[in-house]
Amino acid sequence: MVTLARHDNGSTIIKTSGINFYYGSFQALTDITMDFDRHRVTALIGPSGCGKSTLLRLLNRMNDLIDGARVGGEVLFEGMNIYAPEVDPVEVRRRIGMVFQKPNPFPKSIFNNIVYGPRLAGVAAKADLEALAEQSLRQAVLWDEVKDILGRSAMTLSGGQQQRLCIARALAMKPDVLLMDEPTSALDPISTAKIEELIDELKKTYTIIIVTHNMQQAARVSDTTGFFYLGRLIEYNATEKIFTNPDVKQTEDYITGRFG
């Protein structure tokens, strides 16, 4: 594994060290050690089954839900190991939000989708919830499209709008980190472009870690890219370097389409 020295202007927000992950007896990740920088976009790329989504889900303990999953090693979020026994995964997920591959709004109104999380986290005042909804929808560049139909079911929105709604819903929890698991793979090119613009805007406020199958997307939106193969981190470098002059032959083979 080759890791370039990090950019000085970004401090580490999440650090994994020696992560090994097993589904039953199958080892999905082997010895993953990497740093994620604050206010940067990190892309995780690699062929299907390489472990990139598994790693992403490890970072906010979504893999807890899988029967027979085991984690070794540490994930330090702002210096605290989120797998320590005294840590509540619910608390971790409040600070590290997630957007999924397929848009998954709740069968509720647009407004209630956004305020669902904050309400259960204790925000009760109607004015606060309304302000939060507007702020989150503006951040997700959806406000102008839905401001007059906040009471309508989220299921009536288009796929691209639904995905931006899901991003707004995650932002309403005011997380520090936003994990995105192939957020545009179910969307058309125009919706994809909108989400990519959005990512560029969001990194001013949030740290974003994105899994993508689309290498052009990784090249367009990310500052740093990690290439995974067979559960190992093969190369972790500045995105520009990865896509122009990677250090490892395997990375070059993958991004030039020779395998994968």
Binding site: R94, N104, M173
Partner: protein
């Protein structure tokens, strides 16, 4: 067309014909049954029949106490079985680690569904009536019927919970919402239409069973309407049973027996209809 092809088409026709015939037979049997009950029963139906207690050794008057009793018992059984069944299903599908224990519980639930209803009646007599000293009462009857329909409710609830997309659970959990609140706020509301559908079957069964209430709740005749859950009640299925087998004037009360059955069927369909309307309303609200 070659001979083999012709033969194949003929075979297909015969097969489809058979399937269609089976479906028709089923419909005809149901239609015939309802028609028979209606033809024999509707003459007995009158305002008096629905609102008066029986008179003159059951040969005259109405069945109002039995209608009321059956409603009490059915509502009571649902009130017992629905929360219990849904909670059990939530445990089995959402919390319990899938393994030997869960499988054992499922086998137990399925066995419970196959137990003859008279066994429930005897259990109710031994446990609720005698041991817990509830006596022959609405309470004992409702609890016994509740246990009887528990497997139906658990099964339906499990199916309904499994049908809620996993992505809803993930979306909620990823927002830092606890598992319990995710189930309460997202999973259960979306499973409710399915749970109600399954419960409809339970309602029909609870209203129609005779054996479980025979020893636990039902009275041949009560002079007064029940004043509390510790009173005995008359009930429609038991009323038919006694009129048809144990009364003094079995032949004279025949029209009343059919009338009672017609009322029972109408009552069950009525309760079903309410459940279907509620379900339809909720389905329109929740779509995914």
């Amino acid at each position: 067309m070659t001979g083999t092809m012709k033969w194949r088409y003929r075979k297909q026709k015969i097969f489809f014909g058979g399937v269609r015939l089976a479906a028709l037979t089923l419909t005809a049997a149901l239609g015939g049954l309802l028609f028979f009950i209606f033809i024999n029963g509707f003459q007995a139906i009158s305002w008096e029949f629905l609102t008066q207690p029986p008179r003159d050794s059951m040969t005259k008057g109405g069945i109002m106490p039995a209608i009321l009793g059956t409603i009490y018992l059915t509502v009571g059984a649902i009130a017992v079985a629905l929360p219990l069944g849904v909670m059990a299903a939530v445990y089995l599908t959402e919390y319990a680690q899938q393994g030997r224990i869960v499988r054992a519980i499922r086998v137990g639930v399925n066995c419970l569904a196959g137990v003859p209803s008279v066994v429930f009646g005897l259990f109710g007599l031994g446990f609720f009536v005698v041991f817990l000293q509830f006596g022959s009462s609405i309470l004992s009857g409702a609890l016994t019927l509740g246990i009887l329909i528990l497997p139906t409710i658990i099964g339906a609830s499990e199916e309904a919970l499994k049908a809620v997309p996993q992505t809803f659970r993930e979306a909620s959990l990823a927002l830092g919402v606890s598992k319990w609140l995710t189930i309460w706020k997202i999973v259960l509301p979306n499973a409710l239409p399915g749970i109600l559908t399954g419960s409809i079957l339970g309602i029909g069964r609870a209203a129609g069973e005779t054996a479980p209430i025979m020893f636990t709740a039902a009275a041949f005749f009560t002079a007064k309407l029940p004043g509390s859950v510790f009173d005995e009640v008359m009930a429609l299925p038991y009323h038919v049973y006694v009129l048809a087998t144990a009364g003094t004037y079995i032949e004279q009360t025949r029209p009343l027996q059919y009338g009672t059955i017609l009322v029972l069927v109408a009552l069950v369909l009525g309760i079903d209809l309410i459940a279907i309307i509620i379900r339809g309303y909720m389905r329109r609200k929740k779509r995914w």
